[in-house]
């Protein structure tokens, strides 16, 4: 260990981290949350002109920082490759992984990580040229379908067409940029990929209105933040940061009106914003943790609309991601 310290002084860039301390203590000591994100996923995590990360995934990171440290700007974003992401979480390089990661049983049970919830219900969908006049994926019999090789989309696609008794002509590309170029050049009638990606690809067309995404979703891709196994306190904090945003939306508390809501008489609002009870302290953070999340980052509707929804270029309908009370499946347990 001495040698290690000496090396650390010598090189100066070695960062000693304390393994046995709880993640929350480490985060508080460091005064920042290390958040593993995607470097380039439009709408979920991408760099804007002013070097800031923008997107749904990165706003989840900010919410966690707001809850843990009271300051949403105290996040160190660590861009991670899709293979590297799990190691980075396991080795402690990041505290939380919020990187369009699909929650699957094998990842949850064998990779040493725990998913804390679903921040976005994604799934494979179809995009067609608007002038084709197709309204439903069921009308796609005999179509040429562009997709990417080596992904689960290819498998889902053949399953979907077989189940529905239709045939298709696969046109396989290596990368998303190639498949959208193929689609634009008319190599295929339909482009199939995860819905979140389709909307981003659509924006790359010279005229985005020439294509439309069909309503059918043919696979389950729940995306959510994940933490290391074995630290339940941190797991709880990340999980409830997400739930706090959903509860805030359900109670009508937005980033704009959160200060007025502080004087609300509604017991649910009072509990969420820390006016009644000590729910934050049980998690090891300040009593106003949820207030800070909503004030500095927003409720779930705020971050959804801003990054992928109505106020963004993608304009993705809420769909499954609407609250349970609005016909979606986003549902958060109550705070009490």
């Amino acid at each position: 260990m001495k040698t290690v310290r000496w090396l650390g002084v010598g090189i100066g860039i070695l960062v000693p981290t304390v393994a046995m301390a709880s993640t929350l203590e480490t985060v508080k000591e460091r005064d920042s949350v290390r958040c593993g994100v995607n470097a380039a996923q439009p709408g979920f995590s991408s760099l804007d002109d002013d070097d800031q990360y923008r997107g749904l995934d990165t706003d989840v990171c900010r919410a966690i920082a707001a809850a843990a440290l009271g300051d949403a700007t105290k996040v160190d974003f660590v861009p991670l490759d899709s293979v590297e992401r799990f190691t980075a979480l396991q080795s402690g390089e990041v505290d939380v992984l919020s990187r369009t990661t699909t929650w699957t049983s094998s990842r949850d049970t064998t990779m040493g990580m725990n998913f804390t919830g679903v921040s976005y219900y994604d799934g494979q969908a179809f995009m067609v040229a608007s002038d084709l006049g197709v309204q439903s994926a069921k009308e796609l019999d005999g179509a040429a379908v562009c997709t990417q090789s080596g992904t689960t989309s290819e498998l889902n696609l053949s399953d979907y067409f077989r189940i529905n008794g239709m045939t298709y002509d696969p046109v396989v590309f290596d990368a998303p940029e190639q498949s959208i170029a193929g689609f634009e050049a008319g190599r295929c009638d339909v482009l199939s990929s995860d819905a979140s990606q389709l909307y981003a690809q659509r924006m790359q067309l010279a005229d985005p209105s020439m294509a439309l995404v069909l309503p059918e979703i043919i696979s389950k891709e729940p995306l959510g933040p994940a933490v290391r196994q074995g630290d339940d306190q941190w797991f709880n904090l990340v999980k409830w940061s997400l739930f706090a945003m959903l509860n805030a939306e359900e109670l009508g508390i937005t980033q704009a009106n959160v200060d007025e809501q502080l004087s609300s008489e509604n017991p649910d609002v009072m509990r969420l914003l820390g006016q009644d009870g000590h729910f934050g302290e049980a998690m090891g953070v300040n009593v106003d943790w949820a207030y800070q999340i909503v004030k500095q980052v927003g409720n779930y509707a705020d971050i959804y609309d801003r990054n992928v929804g109505a106020d963004s270029d993608f304009n993705i309908a809420r769909g499954l991601n609407a609250l349970w009370s609005d016909g979606g499946i986003q549902y958060a347990p109550p705070i009490r």
Binding site: L14, T17, A40, D49, A88, S91, A200
Partner: protein
């Protein structure tokens, strides 16, 4: 009756034998087949050049700050303009960019000083460039000393990171490569076998694997109390990898020096290091300039692979910018810019090496 004729004065050669017209005739329109190929070639050139110029210059949009300022008929250089600071410095805090600028200025000044023959004190400048400057650059860029705020290495990026990786790789790989090359030719069995194993191991694995191991596997093996910065991991991996290649290039140069040179030096009573340092290496390195620069250029381009371990080098930051929802659909502009920057640096290295070869050419040129 020769003596009756006035002697014809010297005249310039007819325009059918020299000058542009003659050149065209001998090289491009020399017979029907050549004429045909020339015309076809010109036509293909026309097909390529006209749309390129139209796209890149005539129809291009240069001023503005958002996507809406681009007509999409030609290139949208607005995108490069808006992102330029990011492409050069990565995510380096905007308020601290002056520090990076000082390092850039120092870096290019030192290089120019060492490259321009007229300037004096070469030896001291070289010592400063290798010993003093890296420390100053580190203190400035990383901060944490003298009240400079710390800038964590994962905010370093863009051209700055590419140059850093390439320079450290080059400066580190050359001496290690020389030592390995000498070691491989050594008579001492342990030294020799160590060098052979080292070289063959690092040459036998792809760079992408090295970086991947450094980034994905290493943290799992290390005790969890310590984590080595990912930039340092990449630098070490890159340097070791390139030094193995460098060693083989230099060994090639050493093989080309006749054995008599070393034997003559030994006969004069020189020690091993003097023989190598004064007689063999100067001759070998001079001949190896094309090979060494070739390795440097490929190293410069290999630095783009650090993208897979989440470092934003020049290409990485361009790709990240391409996925900003406000700038979707300008990938061509981004890649053209990255390619141009890489070309400028690689071409300069190549020209400088040709200049060096001419300057050091003292009888070996064939």
């Amino acid at each position: 009756m020769i003596h009756n004729q006035t002697i014809i004065k010297e005249r310039p050669a007819p325009s059918s034998a020299v000058g542009p017209v003659a050149w065209l005739r001998t090289n491009l329109f020399n017979g029907p087949v050549n004429t045909l190929f020339t015309l076809i070639g010109l036509y293909i050139l026309y097909l390529l050049v006209v749309p390129t110029v139209q796209w890149a210059f005539i129809n291009a949009d240069w001023v503005g700050s958002t996507r809406d300022d681009c007509s999409r008929e030609g290139a949208c250089w607005v995108f490069i303009n808006a992102r330029f600071t990011q492409f050069i410095y990565g995510l380096y805090p905007r308020s601290e960019i002056w520090r990076a600028n000082i390092v850039f200025a120092g870096f290019f000044t030192l290089i120019a000083w060492l490259a321009i023959p007229r300037l004096p004190f070469k030896r001291w400048v070289a010592v400063f460039a290798l010993v003093g400057f890296p420390v100053i650059a580190y203190v400035l860029l990383h901060g944490g000393y003298f009240d400079l705020p710390r800038v964590s290495t994962h905010r370093w990026g863009g051209l700055m990171l590419t140059l850093l990786l390439a320079t450290v790789g080059m400066v580190g790989a050359l001496p290690i490569g020389i030592v390995l090359a000498l070691g491989r030719r050594s008579n001492m069995p342990i030294v020799k076998s160590f060098c052979v194993v080292f070289i063959e191991f690092w040459r036998g694995v792809p760079l992408i694997t090295v970086l991947f191991m450094a980034s994905v596997m290493l943290p799992l093996f290390l005790p969890s109390e310590m984590s080595v910065d990912r930039l340092v991991r990449a630098l070490i991996g890159l340097t070791l990898f390139q030094s193995a290649y460098m060693a083989e290039v230099i060994r090639g140069g050493l093989q080309a020096i006749p054995k008599g040179q070393e034997e003559a030096a030994a006969a004069l009573g020189m020690t091993y290091w003097k023989r190598m340092g004064l007689i063999v290496l100067p001759q070998a390195l001079k001949m190896m300039i094309p090979g060494i620069v070739n390795t440097f250029i490929s190293l410069f381009k290999d630095t783009t692979l650090v993208m897979i371990i989440g470092l934003f080098d020049l290409l990485g930051i361009v790709q990240a910018a391409l996925s900003d929802s406000r700038w979707l659909g300008f990938s061509l502009e981004g890649y053209v810019f990255a390619a141009f920057m890489f070309w400028v640096f690689c071409f300069s290295m190549s020209r400088y090496s040709q200049y060096l070869e001419r300057k050091l050419h003292t009888g070996h040129k064939r």
